[in-house]
Subunit: 317 residues, 4 copies
């Protein structure tokens, strides 16, 4: 095992800037990519990349930043359960899988147990923050796992984010908190959408309203930044798009069902995300919950602009 070397799996928009930051912090980073055309781009970021998963076997840390349970399962444990043909089979005992994806707690429990059977560590470390925050090392990292493992990962976390919160020895705890946080944001966006639709339809200035709100009781990024977006109805055809938000809200509702916790407000946000996708806004950022609310209030003046944005995005993708 090569001490300190970081294998990286999941070089999407978030993963790429995170891998680059690890490299910038002096780490040797070996990234597994499926598309050879990405090698040059990653090289400019200081990241070694490879199309062969075996090149990651010797790393001390294996960071994953993948879209969902199945993607993590496939890369680490193989497509066929029990077949043991994934990355975990090649990793050294003593190596640590640093799982930064937003996944379910049940998957986290399975993965932790599977690594433990091989004498490998498993640390859950999902993050709050978008690619812009990731680039600026402003992520918030929610970490859970064995204390000694977390201690070994801490230099990585320091290279990636502005603050790390330790939430326990059980990795799945971090995943639950990540999902709960995303649910807080999704419902806040839904409520902002409804209330701003009311304010607008009553002829008041929504920016004034958001200013009052955030100057008084609702400070914080969600209401300031997202509230401003919804007030100006300047929805972006990018970012954390509706299907990603739906994925996380659906995961959270599944956790809630397992725990037998009814969440009616979250159900409302879930149904509105579905509505947004059904109406053709799948490429818009989740602030578009504020577009659905506006449309349902008969406030249709911005649909044209949004339609253009969506069309633009479709044309260029």
């Amino acid at each position: 095992m090569q001490n300190g070397v970081v294998g990286f799996v999941g070089l999407g928009r978030m993963g790429t800037v995170m891998a680059a930051n690890l490299a910038a912090a002096g780490r040797r980073v070996v990234a597994y990519v499926r598309h050879p055309e990405r090698l040059a781009e990653l090289k400019t970021l200081g990241v070694t990349s490879t199309g062969s998963i075996a090149d990651l076997f010797d790393c001390e840390f294996l960071v994953s930043m993948l879209p969902n349970d199945d993607a993590v399962r496939e890369v680490f444990f193989g497509a066929n359960p029990g077949a043991a043909d994934g990355l975990a089979a090649g990793m050294s005992p003593g190596a640590i899988h640093v799982s930064m994806s937003t996944i379910s707690t049940s998957a986290a429990l399975q993965f932790a147990a599977a690594h433990a059977r091989r004498g490998q560590g498993y640390v859950a470390a999902p993050v709050f923050g978008n690619p812009h925050a990731a680039r600026n090392r402003e992520l918030y990292i929610i970490a859970a796992g064995a204390a000694a493992d977390i201690e070994r990962c801490r230099p990585l976390f320091d290279a990636l984010g502005q603050q790390t919160f330790l939430v326990g020895e059980e990795p799945s705890a971090a995943n639950l908190i990540k999902l709960a946080g995303n649910v807080m944001t999704a419902t806040a966006l839904e409520v902002l959408g409804e209330v701003i639709a009311l304010v607008r339809k009553c002829g008041l200035n929504p920016e004034t309203f958001i200013n009052i709100l955030t100057s008084t009781m609702f400070g914080g990024r969600v209401h300031r930044i997202y509230g401003g977006t919804i007030a100006s109805q300047a929805f972006a055809a990018s970012g954390f798009v509706l299907p990603l938000a739906l994925k996380d809200v659906t995961l959270a509702l599944a956790e809630a069902q397992r725990a037998v916790v009814p969440m009616p407000s979250v159900s409302v946000a879930h149904d509105r995300l579905l509505t947004g996708i059904a109406r053709g806004y799948a490429e818009l950022d989740w602030t578009a919950l504020g577009l659905i609310a506006a449309e349902d209030a008969g406030l249709q003046s911005n649909i044209g602009a949004v339609g253009d944005a969506a069309a633009l995005s479709k044309a260029s993708s």
Copy 2:
């Protein structure tokens, strides 16, 4: 008309500390109270009080801090519409009614028109903040009305709150923003209740969760203070009790219906407030939305304590 003198109507928990602050700022304040036993208490606060509404006729400013539309209507315009037997009939032309109550926009429109017919001013100035904030002059004041009237009122506002937001010449605008703000808080409490129930039922520490939330994306008073209350399940048998919250949410939904704006998340919060009252928690602060969510998740460990608090409150009221 006695320049600078303030007549005050509505000496409840909020009104009393506000009247005292106006007196402390050097104003002569004449308060109308129905119960003679309050005269001594108000005197110690520097407030002259009277049981005769006519003693307020000469004031330049008439501040009202009353529970609802009907209470304002009765005191200012008489119980019988058109009968003109209320305070407004006695007020001087040129005097200003500073209406700080949380009332509907349609009432505000009526009141403004009725005062205008008499050559009187009408400024809407509802506030955000509880009695504790009121005592410390930390209220936020949302003011709307004719610019000249607002200018005359500004010294009063400065004596009452930490910041005044001007939101237009049409008084009802301030009332709508106040209602929209309370709806934001009610829905935030409902969501906090649901998410904290999930966090608790999954065995995690809700205080840790609130700490993460408010350190990252959800700063601001609502999530910090109220989130902490719900996390600790330490619901107070006082404060902004469920029926008051229900009143405001109901007013907001009525505004939404007039404006034809569906607000499904607000409907959820509304139904939960009703549930809380039906379950016997009418004397608990609106953070008790977090108690309803906990009960619905089968988290019943704190019911006993709350029951005691409610019983205590009942016994002492």
Copy 3:
């Protein structure tokens, strides 16, 4: 007092055919209408009409079929409360107000008390059924009031409907049951809309689904007739239009609030009715709840046709 003569107030689409049926049953019917151009039309139906409310003073029965509380209040008790300048002041002691409008229970309580003070009877008798059913004497009548009064009204009911249900001596009971019944229908339509959207979007035949449903567990008019309308998406620009449905659902929710009964499913239907109106479908029958559900599922193929219907209706109204 002229025994057996019926005064009729509220000659809308329902009231007109009901008055005609009373005349056809051999009653002398004197209808109060504001528009003289209606006299000829009513004459052909066997109904005497008048523009002077005083011509109804001598009637034994005063039937009202008006759109809401305020309309009943204005005609019977005058626009100014306490002014006693409405129809009730002229009615004979011993006459009965047969109130067939869909109104609130609190209004019913007020009206019953006001008539009682004058020695007049008050029977609440709201109906289930549309103008078509009214024409065919197929209404269902929900009657409540003093037993003797009801007995006197029974021949009228027999001339108007197919069945009369007695629900107590307290008139407001009939109004509550009428509202509860309309809430049952509104929520059934909302659910049908959602489920049929699912069935359609999965590529199945919605008519087959409705056939199965009504052949097995969901017989009855609501699911058969309305389900068929939603399955075929043939929404009519007439009938019980969305604003009327909204009025009744709003009344029911107000009753529920008074009784402290949360009704989350009814809140969903309420919000969807608002959405429908905000989207411009105010002239469509309440089966159009199934259009809202279809649109929210991205099933937009029928919007064109509906838009045409609405446009048509707008053009002709």
Copy 4:
């Protein structure tokens, strides 16, 4: 392959009476049971039973009546996907799997394809009706599959139910209709619960209300039978218990998510089912949605009795 012989898997409360009815209709029925103590009981019903799945290999029809996707998958296709160690591997080409369980459409699609690869037929035939209806051959059968296969199954259907509805050649269509039907019932129960709580809390007789409802617009079993149960609040600690209802509603919401169809009313019913389970009513029939609504309205008089029933059930299970 032994023509006409029926293998039966899933001898629960429904399956047992269905197998008995097939035997009573003259079929030879071989049932696979895991618990030898059931052999005697099944023998008295005319059903041959076996603990060896291989004894079913020669049957022409393989009927499954199992609780969920996984149970069907395990018995027919083995616990390990691809391992081909289930019943299907032993079945004859030309034999038909008659899948009467309530399962997802995606599972149905998989199963149909897997059988087709082996030259076997797959007919989906979920049913509406409880064990009582099953015993009396009053089930409604929703059948989908290849026309020739369905024709071969028809004598079985005639022995099991009162009516068979053919809904297409694609088996999954039957599963979707079954789920949609159960969603209709769950939401109807939720609405009945809410409305009956209102009626009761306003002091009216809920049985009168149900009588009016079912005599006028809401005939059909759901409103008559279940409405009566909720009106009398006589919830049974048996039947289609809350977790089973939750399973089906959850399946339906998953179908809706796949089809991108928001179903807010169904979300309400889903959240109420979760609430009921969290409150400890998991052993009550799904009419207990009416208990949740009653409790949320502060109508607690019947809780004691229900608690007893639940306790009783717990004690005896």
